[in-house]
Subunit: 236 residues, 5 copies
C-alpha cells in the first residue's frame, strides 16, 4: 500500500508541534499555560502546524475538537526521566488504537546504542509492518544514547539516520548538531526517508501561535541548502 505522507507535509516540508515533554522530561518543561493540552492544541491550530504529536492519553481526551483542522501524530512509545535504567522506551499504544484516535501518522523513539536496542528494533519493525498495512506513515525518533555514545558525533548521527531507513521509517526526527557540512552526510544516509530536524533554540511558547511557523519556515529555507532535508519540528 502506498504510504501517504501528504497529510503531514506541505510543499515537501513539515512543521510539527511535539507535545510529549510532560512524559519525557516531566512538568518542569511546562508552565501554567503550556501544562494545559488545550492551549497547545490551539497553538497548533492557529499556527497552521502540519501536525501535533502527543501520547495516546492526551490525544484521547483533547483531540476530538481539532479532528478536522490539526493532523494528529500519536507517539507510540515513551518513558520518563525518573527511572535509572538503560535507555528503553516501550510501546504504549497500538497502531490500531492510534488510528482510532485519529492519527494520520505514528511515532516511535529508538535509542541506538542502548543495550535495549534489539528490543526497540523488533518493536519498531512490527509497528512499521502494522502501520504500513493501513498506509499510515511511521516517524522514528533516532536518538543515539548509551555509554560511550557521542550523541552529537556526525558518524553516530549518520548511523542512526541509516537505521531509520533500513528499518522502514518514512521520516526520522534527529537532533541537529550545528555542523552543516557534516550533517549533509547524515541526511544522505537516510536516503529516501525524510529527515526532520529536532530542536533548535528553545522558543517561548507565546511566540508560537501565529508568527513562529513562518519564522520557522524561513529557517527551513535558510537551511534549504541541504536539499535532502525535509522539514523541521519545534520543541517547546
Amino acid at each position: 500500500m502506498r504510504i501517504n505522507l501528504n497529510k503531514i507535509m506541505r510543499k515537501d516540508k513539515s512543521l510539527l508541534l511535539a507535545y510529549d515533554q510532560g512524559l519525557e522530561h516531566g512538568p518542569s518543561d511546562l508552565n501554567e499555560r503550556t501544562v494545559d493540552p488545550k492551549y497547545i492544541f490551539d497553538i497548533a491550530l492557529e499556527g497552521l502546524y502540519d501536525g501535533i504529536i502527543t501520547q495516546h492519553g492526551i490525544a484521547e481526551k483533547y483531540y476530538a475538537k481539532y479532528y478536522k483542522d490539526v493532523p494528529l501524530i500519536v507517539k507510540l512509545n515513551g518513558k520518563t526521566s525518573l527511572a535509572n535504567i538503560a535507555p528503553i522506551s516501550r510501546q504504549l499504544c497500538s497502531v490500531d488504537r492510534a488510528i482510532k484516535l485519529g492519527a494520520v501518522a505514528v511515532g516511535y523513539t529508538i535509542y541506538t546504542g542502548s543495550p535495549n536496542e534489539p528490543d526497540m528494533f523488533a518493536e519498531f519493525s512490527k509497528i512499521v509492518e502494522q502501520a504500513h498495512d493501513y498506509g499510515v506513515p511511521v516517524i522514528a525518533w533516532m536518538y543515539p544514547r548509551g555509554s560511550g555514545i557521542d550523541e552529537k558525533n556526525n558518524n553516530i548521527l549518520a548511523y542512526s539516520a541509516r537505521v531509520g531507513l533500513e528499518l522502514g521509517a518514512d521520516m526520522i526526527k534527529i537532533k541537529y548538531n550545528n555542523d552543516p557540512e557534516g550533517f549533509k552526510w547524515v541526511v544522505k544516509c537516510a536516503a529516501s526517508t525524510k529527515v526532520l530536524v529536532a530542536g533548535g533554540d528553545k522558543v517561548d511558547e507565546t511566540a508560537l501561535s501565529s508568527k513562529v511557523r513562518r519564522n520557522n519556515e524561513d529557517r527551513c529555507y535558510r537551511n534549504g541548502r541541504w536539499e535532502e532535508m525535509f522539514g523541521n519540528t519545534i520543541t517547546l
Copy 2:
C-alpha cells in the same frame, strides 16, 4: 466511546473505599472485624460510598449481594510487601474478568521511577485500550517509588500525575503531601484527568459506616480551594 465516570462520581466528587490492604500491606492492617470483607462491603453500602475497590478474588466471592447498591472498582494489579525486589505490581485480572465481576471502573498501580516502570507503563496502556473499548474508566494509582525518589516531592508528584494523563488514566489516586500550594501544580499537571487524594489520617473503621462520609465530604469541600481536585478516597 464515551468514558463513563458518572457511576463513581456525585456532584463531581468521589469518595471511594479501598480494601486492598490485605494484599498490599498484609493482615496487620486489618482487625477482627475488618478482616471480613462482608463487614467492609456493608460499610460501603451504609456509608453511601461512590465505590469499593478490591482485588478480583474478593469481588468474586463477596460482591454479588451488593451489585445494585455499591459500585465496584476492581484493582487489576497488586503485590505483597513480602518480596524484597524492585517495585513491580503485575496485572492479576483481565479487564474482561473485571467487567464480568460487575466492575464499573478498573484500577492499576504504577510505581513511577521504578526500574520496572517500562513494564508497568506497557501493561497499563493496554488496560486503558481494553477498558476504553468498553467505555470503562481507568483509575491509576500514581506512586513514585525507587531509590533516589522523594515520594513527597512536589515535582515528583506532579510528574507522576502527568504520567497518568499522558498514559490515558481517567482518574489518578495520588498521595497528598500536605503542601496545599505545591499540590495545586500536581493537580494542574493531571489536566482533565481527575485527581483523587489518597490517605489522610488513618480513621477507625467504626466511624466510617454512617458519619464519615459526610465528614469526608466536608473535608473535600474545605479542601475545595483546589478547584481542580476532584474527590477523595479513604484508606482504612
Copy 3:
C-alpha cells in the same frame, strides 16, 4: 458461574491425598511400594479420600481406572528440589488439559515472598479466571519462602492465607505451625476461602488405606475448635 466444591468435600470437610512428592522432593520420599502410582490410587480409593492430587503426567497414565471413584485434582505447577534458584514453580499443565484428564479441581503453589512472586501471582490469577469459567475450583498451596521469610510465623502465614483469598483461590493448603491460637487468625484472614491444613506427622503409608481416614477425621474434629478450618490433607 457457581464454583462447585462439593465434588471434593463431604460434610464441609475434605481429606485429600497429595502425591506429588516424587517431583517436589524426589524419589527419596518414596519406597518400593509408594513409588508405584497404582498403589497410591488404590489407597485413595479404599481410604475414601475426597480426592487425589497429582501432576498431569501421572493423572494421564493412571487415573482412567479410578475415574468414577476417586475425584482428581491436577496440580498445575511444580518444580524439583535440584535447581539452586530463587523459588519458582511454573505452570506445567493447562486448565483445559487438567479438565480433559478428569480433574474436578486444580492446584497451584505460590511461594509468597519469593523474588518470583509477581510471576506466580500473574500465572495463578489467569488460572483462576480460566478454571472459574468452567466452574472448576482452584486450590492454592500458600507457601511462604525466601530469604528473611519465617515460614512458621503467624503473621507470614496469615498474610499468605490472605493472598489466597485476594487472588481468587477457593481453597488454600497451608502448613500448620502448631500454634492453635495464632492459627485462628490465619484462618480468619482467608475469610470465605477454605483452609486445608498440610502435613501433621509423617504417617506410614500402610496405615493409610483403611483406618487413617477415620483417624484423620477424628483429628479434624478435635481440631474443630477452629470452626473456620475446613479440612486436612495427608502428606505421605
Copy 4:
C-alpha cells in the same frame, strides 16, 4: 487419545538410532562417512532400527525416501556445546511441523538441576499436551546437569526418571551409570514410563548396519534382568 508406542517398539523393546551429534557435540563426533545423513539413514534402514532421531532440518531434507521403512523421531529441542551458558535447550520445532515431516514420536531434552529447569519443564509440558492430542508419544532425554549435580548418582538419576513420569513422558532416555542394582530403582521411579538406556561404549559406525542390532538386542536381553527396562539406544 491413546498414545501409540507400537510404531517405535517391537516385542516391548526399542532400538533407536540417534543422529543429533552434529548439533549437540559438533562435527568432531562425525567422520567422512557419518557426516552424510544419507549414510546414517541407510544404516537405520539396513539395521532394522525401530526409529531414527534427528533435528527437523535433517528430517526435512533426508527423510522422504525412508518414509515407509524407518520410523522418524524428531528431536524438538537442541543446543550446541559452543555457548558458555547455564544448560538450556530450547524448542526448535513445533509438534505440528514434526508430524508434517513424518514423525511418529517426538523428543525433548530436559536438563534437571539446571537454573533453566523451569523453562524446560514448561516447554516440555506444552509439547506433551500438543503431541498427545495427536496420539503422538513423547520421549524425554532426562539429563541431570548443573553445578553440584552428580550426573551418575543413583538418586539423581532416579529423580530425573521420576520427573519424566510426572511431566507426561511416554519414554525417557537416560544414561546408564553401570550400577545394575542401583539402576533398578531408577527404572522403578519411571513407573509406566518406558526407559531407554543411552550410550554404552562408543561403537564404530561400520559395525552398525547389519550386525550390531542383533548384538544390541542380545545386550538388551542380558540386561533383561531389569524387567522394567525397556530397550536401548545407540549413540554413534
Copy 5:
C-alpha cells in the same frame, strides 16, 4: 512443499549482492554513491546478480522498480555495531512481510557461540517453518561469535555449518578462512545445505556493475576444486 532455490541460482551457483552494511557496520562502509540504494539496485540489475539482500525498510522503498529483474532476499534480522552487548540479532521482519515485499528467499544471522544462541536458534527455526510452508528458501548467515570463539577455526566453522543443516537452512553464508583443505570439511558438514562463501577481498564498487560478475564466476570456478561449494556472495 518443495523449497525452490532456482530463483536465486544459475548452473548450481549463486552470486548475491548483500547490501546491509549500513545497518550492520554503519555508513562508514558506504560512500557518496553506495549510500544510495538505487545505485546498488542498478548494479545488481546490470551485473546480473542472482539476488540482492536488504533489510525490509530498503526493500519496501526501492525494490518495486526492480521486481521483474532482480530477485530479492530480505534479511529478516539485523543489528548495529553500536550497542555493547552479547551478540544478538533479533527478527525485524516477518516472513509474511518479506513475501509481500517480493522476496523469493529470506535470510537470518545466527551467532553460534553467543550466550544468546538459544534465542536465535528458536527464532530461526520458526522462520524456517513459516518460510517452508510457502516454499520459500531460508539462508542462514552462520557467524561464530563470542568470548573464546575463534571465528576462523576450521572446527568452529564446520560446527556452524552443521548447525545450519540441522536447523533447516537451505543455504548458509559463511566466511572463508583461506584454508582450502580445511574448508572442505566445513562444506561437507553442511551436507545438502548449499554453502555460500562470504567476503574475499573488499572490491571497489565501481568494478561491480558490469565486469565483476564474470570475474567472480571465474573465481568460483577456480574455487571449484571444492565441488560441494556452491557459490559466492560479494560484500562491498
